[in-house]
């Protein structure tokens, strides 16, 4: 990390995620913070989906939101207004991408600035070669029995030695 701003606390991130969920669902069923990663989600899970949003500038890094496609489908059905509708990957990607974008934008505003927010990228399924021990989770939550994990990964800016 460059700059001196501190990363937001896990409590702050959980509160933010709650506000984001509420703005999409308009209800009180919000993600609950857990103290640690449940064993079942310590590594990649079959149904997982991740939204990654890069931040570049005075702070360089990325925010990753990981949850399940099933959880995103619940949110998407609430937004698109038809509980029986078959959702395409594009609609799920749209929803989880926007969730990640809003969380990242709000976190960026408390980090060292100025910096820019990149467009979200969404991946369905586990990353190739990812192992359970690779998973970094700064804030672990549970929503409707689905994991909701937010990670902030700092990327050090390139120096002359890196070139």
């Amino acid at each position: 990390m460059t700059g001196t701003a501190e990363l937001p606390s896990s409590e702050d991130i959980c509160a933010l995620v709650g506000e984001v969920w509420s703005s999409f669902l308009g209800e009180d069923s919000l993600p609950v913070r857990l103290q640690s990663l449940p064993a079942a989600t310590a590594g990649p899970v079959d149904d997982e989906v991740r939204s990654t949003v890069g931040i570049t500038g005075a702070w360089n890094g990325e925010l990753t939101l990981i949850t399940t496609s099933a959880a995103v489908a619940v949110v998407a059905r609430a937004v698109f207004g038809d509980p029986s509708v078959q959702l395409a990957h594009a609609e799920l990607a749209d929803v989880v991408g926007e969730l990640g974008n809003i969380i990242a934008g709000n976190i960026k505003s408390v980090l060292a600035g100025p910096s820019a927010l990149l467009l979200p990228s969404v991946v369905f399924g586990a990353l190739p070669g990812e192992q359970a021990t690779d998973r970094r989770a700064d804030t672990v939550m549970s929503w409707d029995e689905h994991p909701v994990i937010v990670s902030l990964n700092t990327r050090h800016p390139m120096t002359e030695d890196d070139a």
Binding site: F24, G26, N101, N106, S109, P114, L117
Partner: protein
Amino acid sequence: MIIDDSRAMRMILRRIMAAAGFEATEAGDGHEALSSLEIATDVPDIALIDWNMPNMNGLEFVKAIRPVQRYSHMTLMMVTSEGEQAQIVRALAAGAHEYLVKPFTPEAILQKLQLLGLTSVGARS
């Protein structure tokens, strides 16, 4: 007019605007919004504009539209996850009239509309 690259966000905003009596058109980025405005018979009263979008972002859209006489009565409101103070200042300096950081409540949108004098039922968006 709702300009946001997320279809879900456009849907959320459309629902809020409809509840307030506004009829909204949509665009997925600044370019699409400009193209749509060029052929529109009626210019919308307000545009709700996301910042981070592909092709043409919200700030570029504001800068493109602000000097055009035909759109001079349009109220431009940024609705974005960009909450950094410097970005808010940039948007307002470029010509945006209001700024709302996502996530928002429907009440927050309606309050902004009221502040802008845009709450009358039947008004266009």
